[in-house]
C-alpha cells in the first residue's frame, strides 16, 4: 500500500481539483486529506462515505456488483468518489474547470495502489 498523503498530493496536481480525502467507508471518518481551505473535509468525508455505502447496496441489489466510480455533478463543480477495496473511499472535490477525465484516471490508479 502506497503512502496515502503522497497519493492525495499527486491528485491535487490535476487541473481544477480542489482537493481529495481518503475516508474510512465503515465510519465516514477522514484517514488522510489534502483539501483547499473552504472545503469542509469532515462533512465531505461523512456524506460521501454514506453515499458510497448506499450506492454499493443499490448496485448489488441491481445485480451489478460493486460501484467503480461516482461522479456527482453539481452546479459549480463535481464530487468524485471511488472505493479502495471494502474499507476505504477516495473522494475528490472538483471545480467547474476540472479535467474530470484525468481526475478519474488518477483516482482509479490511486485507489488501486491504496488497496
Amino acid at each position: 500500500m502506497s503512502n496515502p498523503v503522497e497519493l492525495l498530493e499527486r491528485l491535487s496536481t490535476v487541473r481544477g481539483l480542489r482537493g481529495s480525502v481518503l475516508v474510512s467507508a465503515a465510519d465516514g471518518l477522514i484517514v488522510a486529506e489534502s483539501l483547499m481551505t473552504g472545503v469542509d473535509g469532515r462533512a465531505v468525508a461523512a456524506l460521501a462515505a454514506s453515499l458510497m455505502n448506499r450506492l454499493r447496496r443499490a448496485t448489488e441489489c441491481a445485480g451489478r456488483k460493486e460501484p467503480v466510480f461516482l461522479q456527482l455533478q453539481a452546479q459549480s463543480g463535481s464530487v468524485l468518489a471511488t472505493p479502495c477495496g471494502a474499507e476505504l473511499v477516495l473522494v475528490a472535490v472538483a471545480g467547474p474547470d476540472a479535467n474530470v477525465g484525468l481526475a478519474r484516471l488518477e483516482m482509479l490508479e490511486a485507489a488501486g495502489r491504496l488497496v
Binding site: 465503515a26 465510519d27 465516514g28 471518518l29 469532515r42 468525508a45 461523512a46 462515505a49 454514506s50 455505502n53
Partner: protein, 153 residues
C-alpha cells in the same frame, strides 16, 4: 420523539432525519432527561440517562488526569450497534447527548450532524430560563409531568 422542553423538538427532529440515528437521548449532566427518541419504556430511558451521565462523569475525571478539561465525545463500537456520547454547553447549562446508531449511519455522520444539533439548540434556546425553585412538594408533580411529556402517559 418526545421532549420536556418544546424548543428542543425542531432541532432534534432535524438531527434524527439527517443522522438516521435509532435512539437519541438529551439529558443534563446530572442525568435528567430533556428529550428522547426511539425508547419505548420509561425504565430504559431512565437507565440509559443515568448510565450515560455516569460514563461522561467518569471519563471527565480521566480527562482531568491526562490534562484535558473534558473529552468532547466518545464512541462505543458494537458489532451491529454503536453508541455516541457527547457533552456540550447550552444556554441552559451543560447537557449530554446519547445516540445509538447502526449500519444505516456512521460515526462520521452522527458527529457531523450532532455538531449542527448543538448549534441549532444554541440558536433555538429561549433568551431567559424560567425561574424554578426546587421544592420537595413539587418534585413528584414535576417528575410525573416530565414522564408524561417523554412517554405520553
Amino acid at each position: 420523539m418526545r421532549s420536556v422542553e418544546p424548543w428542543v423538538t425542531e432541532p432534534l427532529e432535524r438531527f434524527l432525519a439527517e443522522s438516521s440515528a435509532r435512539l437519541t437521548l438529551l439529558m443534563t449532566s446530572a442525568g435528567q432527561v430533556i428529550a428522547q427518541h426511539g425508547f419505548t419504556r420509561s425504565v430504559d430511558v431512565m437507565t440509559a440517562a443515568a448510565l450515560g451521565a455516569a460514563i461522561m462523569a467518569s471519563t471527565g475525571e480521566i480527562a482531568k488526569l491526562v490534562g484535558e478539561r473534558s473529552f468532547l465525545s466518545l464512541v462505543h463500537q458494537g458489532a451491529r450497534q454503536h453508541v455516541y456520547l457527547a457533552g456540550f454547553d447550552t444556554p441552559r447549562g451543560r447537557w449530554i447527548g446519547l445516540v445509538v446508531f447502526d449500519a444505516e449511519s456512521t460515526v462520521g455522520l452522527v458527529q457531523l450532524f450532532f455538531d449542527r444539533l448543538i448549534s441549532d439548540l444554541a440558536a433555538a434556546a429561549p433568551r431567559q430560563a424560567p425561574e424554578q425553585q426546587v421544592l420537595p412538594e413539587n418534585f413528584e408533580r414535576e417528575l410525573n409531568a416530565s414522564l408524561r411529556a417523554l412517554f405520553g402517559r
